[in-house]
Amino acid sequence: MTEQDEWASLQDTWGESRPASTVPDVGLMIARARRERRLTVLVLLGEWAMMVVAAVLVAGRWQRVATSGYETLWLVFQTLLMGVIIVVYTWTRLAALHEPAGTNLRDWLALRRRRARLGLRLACVTRWTTVALLPAPLIVLAMARSTQAGITGLVTTTLVLAGGWWWAQRKRARMNAEIAEVDALALEWLDEPPGPSDQTSTA
């Protein structure tokens, strides 16, 4: 038997095999995917509606807020942060609804690497912004009109900053792991050496 015959025989064997995998009920699957897609779109609309309400509230209180420098800074920071988060989440969720068409494995891995690096940069910006805002709880406490307002403000701002820091740390670890996995996959599947790792550990 020649090598070509052997290969043809393997192809026949492979082509005739039907490994056990229950092909799911297609109608049910599509219906569920459509429900999930609708839900995602509704959640996104809800988030954007909240963002608009927040923006309108900020605009309405702007005259009052603008008289106090640190409050203005704080409010602008919060609004910008919310904007960035909402844009990133919208983008991520919309991207998840579409399968990238016509993408080969190399491009797809490069896309995943780019997204992970973008995530790393976002985590880095969040960390440094948190560091820059570390005095904020004390300023809030010092500028408060009453003790209760001061404590509430102190706790709230501390929690916001701690949450931001925690999120950035987790995001950074996740994105570094993702980049390492993409590099390992590229090496194993495509014999491609890892890409430039300048951003993988510095963020």
């Binding site: 052997e6 290969w7 393997l10 192809q11 064997t13 492979w14 082509g15 005739e16 095999s17 039907r18 490994p19 056990a20 995998s21 229950t22 092909v23 799911p24 297609v26 109608g27 699957m29 599509i30 995917a33 609804l97 579409h98 399968e99 990238p100 068409a101 016509g102 993408t103 080969n104 494995l105 190399r106 491009d107 797809w108 891995l109 792991a177 996995e181 993409v182 390992a184 996959l185 194993e188 599947w189 495509l190 014999d191």
Partner: protein
């Protein structure tokens, strides 16, 4: 509404025509039955999402295999990130006939599947794509490597497969 029905009909036709190929593809990447069924479902979902964007630049089979290939790569990445403790075939875990046996795979088919699963994943993907009848240029397009590279790597992978089959 009509467009949606047409999409559903197209998808159902694709599943009927290419479902077994996708099941084979998933089987070469995942030996655990439940995980494999999840993987098949994930691939089909990907195909459903990708179908509206199909423009006919490549054959439908190549297009679908591209989706399956990316989903399997994601699956492998997830497995690396969160490995499951149970790596054995269902057959060995519970002493019952395994899914391959239950599905009526003959000895030769089981042997081939088993040999394929023992290949390094980089070689396995090439062999599976070639076994599905894809030409070198189609494989090169799917992976994003040169046709020459496909030839070299596929020859190595076929030799490795032969070794694995001879050991069984």
């Amino acid at each position: 509404m009509k467009m949606r029905e047409a999409q559903d009909a197209t998808f159902a036709r694709v599943v009927a025509e290419h479902g077994p190929m996708l099941a084979r593809f998933a089987a070469s990447f995942e030996r655990n039955r439940h995980a494999r069924e999840d993987l098949v479902q994930d691939i089909l979902l990907g195909v459903w999402q990708a179908l509206p964007a199909f423009r006919g630049d490549a054959s439908l089979k190549t297009y679908i295999l591209g989706v399956a290939h990316r989903r399997c790569a994601s699956h492998v990445m997830r497995e690396v990130a969160q490995p499951r403790h149970e790596e054995l075939d269902d057959e060995w875990v519970d002493g019952q006939p395994g899914p391959e046996a239950l599905a009526g795979l003959n000895q030769q088919q089981t042997r081939l599947l088993s040999a394929l699963r023992d290949l390094p994943v980089g070689q396995r993907q090439l062999v599976v794509l070639a076994l599905e009848g894809l030409h070198y240029d189609e494989i090169a397009d799917l992976l994003g490597i040169t046709v020459g590279n496909v030839g070299v790597r596929l020859n190595r992978a076929r030799a490795a497969l032969k070794e694995q089959l001879e050991e069984r």
